[in-house]
Symmetry: C2
Subunit: 187 residues, 2 copies
DNA sequence: CACACCTACTCAACAAATTGAGTATCCCAT
DNA sequence: ATGGGATACTCAATTTGTTGAGTAGGTGTG
């Protein structure tokens, strides 16, 4: 149900094709509403049928044609209505690694170390990507200036959330590695 | 696919009924693998059929009978094998509130404030519950002592993750509220 | 000049998650 | 004495999410 609004929110940034959205959902929105390309195409179809978005086909020369989608007034309306509704479920984190950590006693600690290290470097990479998005948003201004001047601060606040989340993730990994290291000194 | 292992991991704590598990999945495991009671009952059925857990029916006097499930050796084996496998997808955070924040420009800032405040007090509540679980685990010992003595540290490390996650959540809410407050001074 | 990867999707099948109702007993407070 | 909540589930329908294959031209790399 919420993917619908995630897509509408993504289209606030302007016209986009399904393919472009699938990229966006991989970098910025991926932080709080992951979706596969297939889900997006299906959702776009539905939204277009419901008149919340409009499609126009763009003929292209040396690549397949694409359909660009734009928010309609109706879509914009539904989105702002949604944004004012009370939130039903709060954060839901689904993390396979944490299941493995929960069940780690009884497995080789070195294997667990490796899993945590992999996660840590992944989180660092994501953090770096977020920081780049941040720099592009700020565009030389300080955060203060940006928040005063910008007409849309929503995307900045969610990005801030993503950055906070991933750096906490990295810190957690570091702590876990420290603890594992104390338990099983490197031989 | 992972719910299976989440359930097996939960049963490491000992025998439990579906009903009891649905409580556990609401407090501790909810942090990294949410599941509804219906999902759990179905999963338990499947796991019992596959011989990974065993059920025994306990007759009760003044309440409905219950089925208590225990890990079998096969179940324990599958779980430890899983715990050593590389993790496919990393963290996926799904947060409806962040969609609303992303789309907040164009809605009444006071409404957004209220949404964030609600989330903050919810996160504080969750944090308090985690802290209580932590105190019960530590049982008077310091973290150092616990980590040296305890034979299972997995649950402590995941709990640490939950605490880190929720306190970061609270901090994010505070920052957002501060920014909203500057933009829209309370009249 | 072969091979992999990028754009830009569609189709189909399946697995997992959500929602809502239904059953039946007991305890506690108003 | 009546209503609400807790225990302890089951059944069914629907919506979401995932996986894998297929199409088809274009670009870049060794």
């Amino acid at each position: 149900m919420s993917l619908k609004y995630a897509v509408l929110a993504a289209l606030l940034e302007g016209e986009a094709s399904g393919y472009e959205l699938s990229k966006v959902f991989d970098v910025s929105l991926a932080n709080f509403w992951p979706a596969t390309p297939q889900q997006l195409y299906r959702e776009l179809e539905r939204l277009a049928q419901d008149g919340l978005i409009e499609a126009r086909v763009v003929q292209q020369e040396r690549r397949p044609n694409k359909r660009l989608f734009t928010l309609t007034d109706a879509g914009r309306g539904e989105l702002t209505a949604f944004a004012a509704e009370p939130t039903r479920r709060p954060t839901a984190l689904r993390d396979e690694l944490l299941i493995k950590i929960q069940a780690m006693d009884g497995t080789d600690p070195e294997v667990t170390r490796a899993l945590v290290e992999e996660r840590m470097s992944w989180a660092r990479g994501k953090l770096a990507r977020y920081e780049r998005v941040r720099d592009r948003l700020l565009d030389g201004r300080t955060e203060e200036e940006y928040l005063r001047e910008a007409d849309r601060i929503g995307p900045y606040l969610t990005l801030m959330g993503g950055i906070a989340f991933e750096s906490e993730n990295v810190r957690w990994c570091e702590r876990v590695l420290a603890i594992l290291g104390r338990r099983v000194p490197l031989s």
